[in-house]
């Protein structure tokens, strides 16, 4: 099994993901530069966080139109698991692999802090090892993490069980106070209709070892690895 970690100019969580996959989970993982046009040799793909192309134009917009994204689409269409974290989530919405868009936080400030998330569905390759309703502690670090989608899109996400994580308070309530960026319906992560493409603003790789204060994010990667192993 091998997992690709896509690297754009400005990616900065790429090595953290490689560390989690290789050193924590013992899985083969490889950094892949954005000019790569063939990802057939990989079983899964991670698009890491960072500031691809300086967030110029719009966060993720330029990265979404690079050669590697055509191959990411091809692998996603083939059913392989693809996860985009933070800037990676922005890249996935900009490239049309996920619904909606990410815009400036409702209070226009870079927010870097721990958030609580509620697992809304376990029926995805990335959340199979969680319990539905489980509360996780995973940090965010973003300026443009305000998830926006129009009403019909939100209804469709809900109907198809595509909302994966919501920002909640410590007791699990999706309140306005627990919403760090103004995301519609407190949405922190969604999957594609086929469920094999996940985008999430919080950083599970920054909560993958006890020494970091939380290892709640590790199960996202463990679930993905298990999904690939069972295929």
């Amino acid at each position: 099994m091998s997992i690709a970690v896509v690297q754009f100019g400005g990616s900065n969580c790429d090595l953290d993901i490689i560390h989690v996959l290789k050193d924590v989970l013992g899985v083969d993982a490889e950094l892949v530069w954005y000019k790569e046009e063939n990802l057939d040799r990989f079983d899964g793909i991670v698009i890491p966080g960072g500031f691809s192309y300086g967030d110029y134009l719009r966060a993720g917009a330029i990265a979404a139109r690079t050669p590697i994204m055509n191959s990411v689409k091809k692998q996603a269409d083939a059913g392989k698991p693809v996860i985009g974290i933070c800037n990676g989530f922005q890249v996935l919405t900009e490239s049309g692999l996920l619904a909606g868009a990410l815009t400036t936080n409702n209070y226009p400030k870079f927010r870097c802090e721990c958030t609580y998330l509620r697992v809304e569905t376990t029926d995805t390759p990335f959340t199979s090892m969680f319990r539905k309703g489980e509360i996780l502690s995973i940090p965010i670090a973003h300026m443009e993490g305000n998830y926006y989608a129009d009403e019909p899109t939100l209804a469709a996400l809900e109907r198809n069980d595509q909302v994966v994580f919501r920002y909640v308070d410590k007791s699990g309530n999706a309140t306005d106070e627990a919403n760090p960026n103004g995301s519609r319906e407190n949405i922190a992560g969604i999957v594609s209709q086929r469920k094999n493409v996940l985008g999430m603003m919080p950083h599970p790789e920054r909560a993958s070892e006890e020494v970091l204060g939380s290892s709640d994010g590790l199960k996202v990667f463990r679930s993905m690895v298990e999904y690939i192993s069972n295929k």
Binding site: A61, R65, T103, T104, N146, G182
Partner: protein, 83 residues
């Protein structure tokens, strides 16, 4: 022929514009009154095209493919011929 296009990208009406809101608040701190403040981005693109219609087509395509995100933005294009 050479043309200069000005492309204005705005958030759709009804979408929160936190930058605009912050500027509005700052203006109020200075004693000014403003009913609302909205931000926009302007791109100036110089391009060659056979005529103004194909220049417009070209710029519209740039907007749809990259410069605007149709989920959250409206855009407008104005064009003029330059020397």
């Amino acid at each position: 022929m050479q043309y200069q296009a000005e492309v204005i990208i705005e958030l759709k009406a009804g979408m929160l514009d936190p930058e605009g809101t912050t500027v509005k608040r700052a203006l109020e701190h200075l004693g000014y009154e403003a009913d609302s403040v909205r931000t926009a981005k302007k791109y100036t693109i110089v391009l060659k095209a056979a005529d103004i219609h194909s220049a417009r087509e070209n710029v519209e395509e740039m907007c749809q493919k990259l410069i605007a995100n149709p989920i959250i933005h409206n855009y407008s294009v104005s064009l003029r011929e330059i020397e």
